[in-house]
Amino acid sequence: MSMAAEPNELRDDVLNGLQLSTQLEKVWRTPSGLVGALMSVDHKVVGRRYIVTAFAFLLLGGILAILMRVQLAGPEKTFLSADKYNQIFTMHGSTMMFLFAVPVMEAFAVYLVPLMVGTRNIAFPRLNAFSYWMFLFGGCFLWISFLFNAGPDVGWFSYVPLSSLQFTPTKRADVWAQMITFTEVAALAVAVEIVVTVFKLRAPGMTLDRIPLFVWAMLVTSFLVMFAMPSIMVASTSLILDRLVNTRFYDSSSGGHPLLWQHLFWFFGHPEVYIIFIPGTGMVSAILATFVRRPVIGYPIVILSLIATGFLSFGLWVHHMFVTGLPQLGAGLFTASSMLIAVPSGLQIFCWLATLWDGRPVYRTPLLFVIGFVVIFVLGGLSGVMVASVPIDTQVHDTYFIVAHFHYVLIGGAVFPLVGAVYYWFPKIAGRMLSERLGRWNFWLAFIGFNVAFFPMHILGLIGMPRRVYTYTADMDWAHLNLLSSGGALIFALSFALLLVNVIYSLRKGELAGDNPWNASTLEWATSSPPPPQNFDRIPVVKHRDPLWADSESLPVVAGLSAERREILLTSLAEAEPQIREASPEPSIWPLLAAIATTVFFIGSIFTPWAVLWGTPPMAVTLIGWFWPAGSKEDEE
C-alpha cells in the first residue's frame, strides 16, 4: 500500500525561500473573485468570517441589552411593551449563547488551532466552510424573523408548555427551535474538526505534553460540544414535532412531561457554560504565559483540571431544577457535585496566580484583561457556589442574583479573556497592532462598567426582583439600583464601541506587527502576520513545549510534502510521529450549496412535515457533489 510520491512531482525539498513560498501560495490560496471567496476552505478565511460574524451578533445582542436596561432604568417605563421586551430578552439570551459565545470560541479555534499545532489547514476544511454557512444562515434566520416581529418570546430556555402550540400558536417558538438546529449542526461540525486536527494534524514531535494549553482547552471544549449538544437537538426536534405533527412529548395529558424538557435542556445547558468558559481559560493560559514571561506553572494540573471540569460539567444540570419539586436527598447530592466543580476551576486559578507571582509581568492590554478576568470570574464562581446550595437557590433562583452570577461567570470568565485574546492575536490575524492607548481605555471602561452594571443585580435579586419582568412598580424600591445598573451597562457598552473603533483604526493605521510582536512561545508566531495561505512554508518539528522560547533563532522543519497540490502531514495520536501525507481538499462551492439546501430543508420543515420529503433530495445531491472526486490528481492516487 505504500504510495510514495511520484518521482516527477514537485516537492518542497527542491524549492527554497521565496520560490517555495510563492509556489505554496499558488497552491493554497483562496480563488479570487466573489465565487472564489464563496468557495474558500482556508481555515483562516473561514475563521476570520466566523469571528467577524460572531462579533456582529455580539453587537446586536448588546444593543438588545441596552434596550432592556433603558426599559428597566426606572419603574413602570413604557419604552418597551411587554411583548417587545419578552422578544428582546429571549433574543438577547439566544443570540449571546448560540450566535456569539459558542461560535466565537470555536471561531478562534478554527483560526488558531491549525496554526498552533503547526499544520496547513484544519481537518475537513469543506465541513468547516459548511459549518460557517450554517451558522450564518441560522443567525440570519433568527434575526430576520425578529425584525418581522416573529422573534421568539419564550426565553432562551423555551420551557414547555409555554412554548407549546397551545400557548404560543405563532411560529415564534419554531424559529427558536430551528435556530438551535442550525447552530448546533455548525458547532458539532467544528467540534469534530478540532478534535481530528488536534489528534492527527499536529506537527511532528508535538507529543501530548507539548500541546499548547489553548489547544488543550479547545480539545476538551470540542468533546463537551459533542456530548452536550445532541441533547438540545433531541429537545428542539421533539418540540418542533410536538408543534408540527402533534407528538405528545411534553403534553402532560397524554403521558408527556414538562420536566423532560427541562432535563434535556439543562443536560445541554450546563455543559454549555463550560463550552463557553473553558476556551476562555485557554486564552488566559496563552496570554498569561506570554505577558508574565514564563510558562504557566502546573501544566499537567491545568490539563487535568480541564478534563475534570469537562466530566463534572455533565453531572450537575439538576441544579437548574432545584425548585421543580425533586426528591430532597437527590437535590442535596447535586449541591455537592455542583460545588465540586469549583475544585478544578480553583486549581487553574491557583496555577495562574502562581505563574503571575513568579513571572515578570509586562502590563499590556491583554494582560490587563486577564487580571480583570481573575477578579471578576472568582467572584462569579463564588456566587456560583452559593447558588449550588439548595436552600439558597430556592430564594435566588430566577432572580437578578442569578443574572448577576452568570454574567460574572460568562463575561468575566469568557468575554474578558476573549477581548484580551482579540488584543493578543489581532496582530497575527491582521498584521497590525491594536492601539495600546485605546486598549487601556477599553479595559478600564469595561472593568468599571461591567461591575457597576452587574454588581447591583446581586442585591436586586436578594431584595426580591425576579428575572424576565418587563417592568416593576415604584413601591418595590428597585429603581435606584436599576438605574445604577443601567448606567454601568452604558459604560460597558462604550468599552465595546471603543474596541470597534480600535479595530477599524488599527486595521489601516496600526503599527506593523511582524511575526512575533509579543515574543511569545507557540507556533502561530513562527509564521508571518497574517500567515500565508499555506500557514508554514515547511511543517515545523516540535522539540519543546515552548518551541519559540527554547530556540528563537532557528526552527526545525520537515521537508518532502508536495508543492504542487494541497498536502498535509498526519501524525500519530500520542507521539505525533509522521504517518501519512494526506491530500487536503481544494476550494469548493458545494459546501455553500449544501448549506443552502439544508437551510431550505430546516426552514421548510417548521411549516410542513412534507419538507422532509422534498427537502432531502437537494441535500443528497449537494452532499454527493461535495464528496464526488473532482478528478484532480490528489484524488486519483
Partner: protein, 336 residues
C-alpha cells in the same frame, strides 16, 4: 449570623418596603424558613468573601512583588516549580474540604427548610396566566372556599401549600417567608412555611410564564390566629346581598353583561370558573394579581379596559355605559 450585619443589611435594603405593597425580600425574613435560608446564605457569603479577598490580595501582591530582571522565560528552577506544584495541590485539597463542608451546611439548612410541620393549614394554589387561584380546602365542604391573589394565613402555624398549574409553569415565591417552588403542569408540588410575625408579605411569580409574567404578584397576609379564624369564618359565608337599589342593579348587570360567565360569586347565580372568584372581592387589598391597589377608581379603570392595564390577559373589554359601570362597581365593593 452577626446581628449587626443583619440589621445593617435590612435597614439599607428594605426600609421603604414597609409601604403598601408588602415586603418582598430575602434579607427581611419573617418566617421560620426564610430565616434559616438567610442564615445559610450568610455562612456562604462569609466564606465567599474571605476567599475572594484572599485571591485579590495574592493577585495584588503577585503583581507588586519585585521580579527577576532578565527576560529569560525558560530560566526555571525545578525546586521552585515542584514546591509551587505542591502548594497548588494543597490549595486544591483545601478547596475540596471547604466545598464539602459547605455542602453539609447546605444540606443541614435544606433539612430544616423542607421539614414537615405538624398540624399544618393546607391550601391549594393553582397558577393561571396571570393570577393565582387560592383554595382553602376542608373536609367539610361548607368550610371550603376559593379566593384569588391574596392568601391569609395564621402566624405561628405551619402552612402547607399544594401547588398546581392550570396552564404553563409558574413559580410561587414569597421571599420574606420562604424560597420558591414551581407550579408545574401535570405535577403536584408542595411547600411548607410558617410566618413568625404578622404582616403583609408580597410574592411574585418567579418563572417566566408569558406576556404578563411581570404582573403576576400576590400578597400573603399573616394574621394572629384568632383574627385569622374570624376572617376564615367570614370568608366561608356566601356573598353579601346588595343592600341598595344601585347594588341590586349592579348584580343584575354582572350577569347580564357576561361577567358571570367567567367569575364566581358564591350564593348568587354567577358561577363562572375561568377567572378569579369574586365572592369577597371588596375585602381584598389589590386587584389583577397585585398589579393595582383595590380602590373604586382602579377597579373601575380595570373593568372599563382590562386590556389597557394588562395587555393579553383573558378578560375582554365589555361595552358598558358609565352608569352600568358605576352600578357594577358599587355592587362589587359591597362584596366584603
Amino acid at each position: 449570623m452577626p446581628v449587626w450585619v443583619r440589621i445593617v443589611l435590612v435597614l439599607c435594603t428594605t426600609w421603604p418596603l414597609a409601604a403598601c405593597a408588602g415586603r418582598q425580600s430575602t434579607l427581611d425574613p419573617q418566617g421560620l424558613q426564610s430565616e434559616q435560608i438567610l442564615h445559610t446564605l450568610f455562612i456562604f457569603l462569609g466564606v465567599a468573601a474571605i476567599v475572594w479577598i484572599a485571591v485579590v490580595i495574592v493577585l495584588a501582591l503577585g503583581m507588586l512583588r519585585r521580579k527577576r530582571l532578565a527576560d529569560q522565560p525558560l530560566d526555571l528552577h525545578q525546586a521552585f516549580e515542584e514546591r509551587t506544584g505542591r502548594v497548588i495541590i494543597g490549595l486544591g485539597v483545601a478547596t475540596t474540604v471547604i466545598v464539602l463542608g459547605l455542602s453539609f451546611v447546605s444540606y443541614a439548612g435544606q433539612r430544616i427548610v423542607f421539614a414537615k410541620g405538624e398540624n399544618a393549614l393546607t391550601l391549594k394554589i393553582i397558577g393561571h396566566q396571570w393570577w393565582w387561584e387560592v383554595r382553602y380546602e376542608d373536609d367539610s365542604p361548607h368550610r371550603s372556599f376559593v379566593t384569588a391573589n391574596e392568601i391569609r394565613i395564621p402566624t405561628g402555624q405551619p402552612v402547607k401549600v399544594e401547588l398546581e398549574s392550570a396552564d404553563v409553569v409558574h413559580s410561587f415565591w414569597v421571599p420574606s417567608l420562604t424560597g420558591k417552588m414551581d407550579l408545574i403542569t401535570g405535577q403536584k408540588n408542595e411547600l411548607q412555611f410558617t410566618a413568625k410575625n404578622a404582616g403583609v408579605y408580597r410574592g411574585q411569580c418567579a418563572e417566566f410564564c408569558g406576556l404578563q409574567h411581570a404582573h403576576m404578584a400576590f400578597a400573603v397576609i399573616a394574621l394572629p390566629p384568632d383574627e385569622f379564624g374570624r376572617w376564615r369564618d367570614r370568608e366561608n359565608q356566601s356573598a353579601n346581598s346588595p343592600a341598595d337599589q344601585l347594588g341590586k342593579q349592579g348584580e343584575a348587570l354582572f350577569r347580564a353583561r357576561g361577567c358571570a360567565l367567567c367569575h364566581n360569586i358564591s350564593g348568587t347565580l354567577a358561577g363562572g370558573q375561568l377567572g378569579p372568584d369574586l365572592t369577597h372581592i371588596g375585602s381584598r387589598t389589590t386587584i389583577t394579581a397585585g398589579t393595582l391597589p383595590n380602590t373604586p377608581a382602579t377597579l373601575g379603570a380595570w373593568i372599563a379596559d382590562p386590556q389597557h392595564i394588562k395587555p393579553g390577559n383573558l378578560m375582554p373589554k365589555m361595552p358598558l355605559q358609565s352608569g352600568e359601570l358605576i352600578a357594577i362597581l358599587h355592587y362589587l365593593e359591597q362584596l366584603k
